[in-house]
């Protein structure tokens, strides 16, 4: 069964932040918040935990380091050691630059891959934004105010009057395939 949602539009980030605070205080479930730019303090206001992507970055870096050193040591000293100017086969100092570059490469690419994977972003994906201007100059707060006491008009008026919501639309929740 799909829920009834209330989409509220705001013009200023200050209004949005206060509205989010109010929704959490009175127990209106926040389904999603859409913003045209990163609003500082919004993740904290919604009570979202910090992202764990830095751990992916660390893992990618370590993988690059281990892989880079292993590749260089194996090709230079094990698989086919070639004498180049009498330099030692296992020249660790000479392996530093390539290992370093591979740390950066793996850490960066894996972090971005993890980000795209977690956010389910890929070419061709198309999910409509709730209001057309949320990628332009509007903020949208999507609420699922449940319960017997929920009277849409009253809730809507509260947000319009107290937090300057400029638009309010009732929709049904999109059931994702």
């Amino acid at each position: 069964m799909s829920r009834r949602l209330l989409v509220l539009a705001f013009e200023r980030e200050g209004d949005l932040l206060r509205a989010v605070g109010h929704a959490r205080a009175v127990g209106h479930e926040i389904v999603e918040v859409y913003a045209p730019y990163p609003v500082h303090g919004l993740p904290e206001a919604q009570g979202l935990a910090p992202s764990r992507l830095p751990w992916v970055c660390l893992a990618g870096g370590l993988l690059g380091l281990a892989g880079g050193l292993a590749l260089q040591a194996w090709t230079s000293a094990v698989d086919w050691p070639l004498n180049v100017g009498g330099k030692p086969f296992l020249s660790w100092p000479a392996f530093v630059p390539v290992a370093f570059e591979l740390v950066i490469l793996f850490a960066g690419l894996l972090t971005v891959a993890a980000f795209l994977h977690r956010e389910r972003l890929w070419p061709g994906k198309r999910l409509a934004v709730p209001l057309p201007r949320t990628t332009d100059d509007r903020f949208a707060l999507v609420l699922a105010p449940a319960g017997a006491s929920y009277v849409p008009e009253v809730v809507e008026r509260t947000y319009r009057e107290r937090f300057d919501a400029v638009e309010a639309v009732e929709t049904l929740e999109e059931t994702r395939p």
Binding site: R12, P36, D136
Partner: protein
Amino acid sequence: MAETSVLDRREGARHPPVPQRHPAEPALILGHKTIGRVTADVCAPIERRPTGLWWAAFLAALAALAVGVASVGYLFWKGIGVWGLNRTVGWAFDITNFVFWVGIGHAGTLISAILLLFRQRWRTSINRSAEAMTIFAVMCAGLFPLLHMGRPWNFLWVFPYPNTRGSLWVNFRSPLLWDVFAIGTYFTISLVFWFVGLLPDFATLRDRVKGRVARAVYGALSLGWRGTTRTWQRHETVCLLLAGLATPLVLSVHSVVSFDFATSVIPGWHTTIFPPYFVAGAVFSGFGMVLTLMLIARRVMGLQDYITHRHVDAMCKVLLSMGLIVGLAYATELFVAWYSANPYEKFAFNNRMFGPMGWAYGIMVLCNVAIPQVLWAPRARRSLVLVFAVSILVNVGMWFERFVIIAGSLQRDFLPSSWAGYAPTLAEIGTFVGSFGLFFTLFLLFCRFLPMIAMSEVKAVVAHDAGDGHGGAS
């Protein structure tokens, strides 16, 4: 309200306080923009038909590119012999151009990564185009070693992949191979960083453009971006992480480029100060190029409200300080050549200043050390014509710096019987012209089809300057 104050306290604990603008300080973005106005202004060049000026510039760039294609075609047909290289001067125009273009790229990373970490808000207007400049410059740079290979179709041999030549591996003890990894990583990470930053702006365009094809293309590029809080939060984390990775990366890239020279035994190359000296020079020339491009772009694309005198002023100060570091490096080199009491080193630097290429050394010192000193005067930094001239001269000077170091040092080595001269041929000059053609063709296409200014980042700055910050309304 009680809940607001709780929010404020929690928020303050996580983010260092953003410095408030002093009332007397001019705003970063002029014209009291609303965030909707930012979208309209930045998208305007994409939505309207290109101007006559754009077409003129684009055709000129294409013509230069055609010169390059002809020169490279001639090179492929005949071989490396069409260049002016000889047994003594084995590296000259090509490697000079390689180092020149890589260096130009560095300012883009500096602006997008290091200034992000330092929370310099003025970077938001210029970071997108500076990053584009980086990517295009690295593409131009990569071209030259590729052409120098002689058999460029065998370029895959520089990568360590299992092969049928007994699995003959690459030599990991050679700085030339480190270059492959450094430049390859630099290009990849810069491209990814740029694309991730573009995602929200692609979504804005997707929801805005009229044409069906444009909508489909921007839609595909936006990867379905919707701008939810979670996405923004992760996006900011990713951008900070990439900035943190790109910062040591950019320092490593030009250090590795300088190892190509510093690890050899040629007097004039064999110096330990090369890595920091090259990095400072790279940032110097890169900021020169950013200034050149921004001053043109703000006029041609009508972005005067976004790229303001304050941005130009800040970039001039960076340019000036980098110029001083470069000047210090020149002086240090000369001092060490004298103080080391090494006759070969002394000879190399005497030859550099007073030898057959002394005129190039003169141009280098004039353009890189003397001329940028005018930027001490605030009035000079406000004169856009003067700044534009200085920015171009800086790049002339920096090109000559690399030429002096590379060709000048090779020209006269230990053995007088092997001394030789060097003069570029038409094919080499044509290839260099072609690299400018490639660079400007790509940059003009970027101006036409992609948002030149990071809309989402500028919107945050605009909202903050308007006092619409957190709790500002309560």
